[in-house]
Amino acid sequence: MNRWLPFEEPLRELEEQIVELERYTAAKGMNRSREIAALRTRQEELTREIFSRLSPWDNVQLARHPERPYALDYVSAVLADFVEIHGDRRFGDDPAVIAGMGLLEERPVVVVGHQKGRDLKERQARNFGSARPEGYRKALRAMKLGEKLGYPVISFVDTPAADSRPESEERGICESIGRNLAEMSTLRTPVLVVIIGEGGSGGAIALALGDWIMMLEHSVYSVIPPESCAVILSAFDRDASRGPEAAAALRLSARQTQELGVVDEVLDEPLGGAHRNPDAMASIIKETLIERLDGLCQLDTEELLQRRYEKFRRIGSFGT
């Protein structure tokens, strides 16, 4: 059973009606299937309507939806023969980051990504998808392996933020993020990035520097959580409850981010969000990855790197 977000309230009510009607008619042995079908149609229309005018804040909630598919859900649907690798060979293995390799159709690829947990226990074990230094270093190890073997790298981004506990500082969370940015910018193999949920600030960009940046329609990408932004800035009266306004000001939704030239492609989600139909979402991701890789793999490495550099080199807004 799906959980409903506040802006889905009309849909939840409709769902309740339908379920109630189904139960009632089944119990009574009545056939009201036409009526039910009509309600379903109405529900779909309403969904379409609501989802056609989502606010950035609505997308924040969708991006954080506890039923939203996570990296490993997509990996297992998109890749054959996936083998997960573990550890940074320096200090530890961070469950907030996954890394491994597998086959995308016939093509060997390396995959990295943030990984959130589904139930409470797993969520804690995976630190809610907040990576520690060893997580980024594990990902880097995998990416360097991809570079060595000539396999493209696919990164699934989904994190509220990097871990900033003192233990992470001690082991160089800053260095690990900076190092990944430096290495990813010069990695001699194609790098595809898919922001599948929360693209949370430095924790996200540490796995999001690549040749082609994609965002799922309802994912978000932001320099700061909107609530924190609202708390810090007097423009929002330093009031966390004005997070929705901050979300709008930050332009963190997929489409807005694309308009700003930061993201190359937005992948449509199934109606109602990826969690309503993970298989359909995975298919879209898979097809897109294959197509984009076909293109990128035709570039020679120097051209690939030059384009990657220029792609980010361009992003900024200044004049005299």
Partner: protein
């Protein structure tokens, strides 16, 4: 393109008296309160001690201009891109007003200054952040200047010296400011590929988006004593995780102990060390 940067935009550092800047925002012109020990310090003396408290050794913040004067051979700094200013890409609430205000307050167009200079007669490329301008936060302008500095250093094959400080990415530029982490660091990676050395100096505070991008990947890192350095500031961490940090957490010395910086040097020792390094890095 830095190679085409017009000499026209370069100018000698204004030689305004240091006191003008030291006193910025301080009600009494003659006395400054030490951030470290709250002692009232006589500003003339403070100036002579390079703004290091002689009571407690606290390193007060320097403006970009003061920092430059401290580090480079006298009169050698040629600023580039003086007037580069942000275009407010998100039309973010009150951002334009803020920019105007800080511009007036600091006399800088944004939070970063870069240019050419010599240290011990060795030509270098220098970048210095200006904490006074919106907490030294990194938006498009700092990003662009860091990129240009790195590209220029690569082209000229001159060491890059960056004084890194600031509160992090500038949220008023949203995702555009986050992207500055990527592009500045990519420029450093190219500088490394060009086999040109890069020396970073960490000054209080050096946090978040600046710390977690180009700062920690420098070849050699020198930090000022007591400088707060890290992904999140100590107070933010204490609130976020509801913990109490031991004193000295996320300071320069903390990072030295954990192998993240090469040395912690008193302000007075930094220029001599740079001269020494430049003598090696010919």
């Amino acid at each position: 393109m830095p190679s085409k940067a017009k000499k026209a935009s370069a100018r000698k550092t204004a030689k305004a008296p240091l006191r003008e800047r030291v006193m910025k925002g301080v009600p009494d012109d003659l006395w400054v309160k030490c951030t470290g020990c709250s002692t009232m310090l006589y500003s003339k003396e403070l100036e002579q001690s390079l703004k290091v408290c002689q009571k407690c050794g606290y390193h007060l913040r320097l403006s970009a201009e003061e920092r430059i004067r401290l580090l480079v051979d006298e009169g050698s700094f040629q600023e580039r891109d003086t007037d580069l200013t942000t275009q407010d890409p998100l039309s973010f609430p009150s951002y334009k007003k803020d920019i105007a205000r800080y511009r007036k307050q600091t006399g800088c167009a944004d939070s970063m200054v870069w240019g050419e200079a010599t240290i011990g007669e060795r030509a270098i490329i220098l970048g210095v952040s200006e904490f006074g301008f919106m907490g030294g936060s990194m938006g498009s302008v700092m990003g662009e200047k860091v990129v240009r500095a790195a590209e220029e250093a690569a082209i000229k094959r001159q060491p890059l010296v960056l004084v890194c400080s600031g509160g992090g990415a500038r949220m008023h530029e949203g995702i555009i400011s986050l992207m500055q982490m990527a592009r500045t660091t990519a420029a450093m990676a190219r500088l490394a590929d060009a086999k040109v050395p890069y020396i970073a100096i960490f000054a209080d505070p050096m946090l978040a988006g600046i710390a977690a991008s180009f700062a920690f990947i420098a070849d050699i890192i020198i930090a000022e004593p007591g400088a707060i350095v890290g992904f999140a500031g100590p107070r933010v961490v204490e609130q976020a995780y509801r913990i109490k940090l031991p004193p000295g957490s996320m300071t320069a010395e903390f990072h030295l102990a954990h192998g993240m910086v090469d040395m912690v040097l008193a302000r007075r020792e930094i220029r001599p060390m740079l001269v020494r390094l430049m003598n090696i890095l010919r």
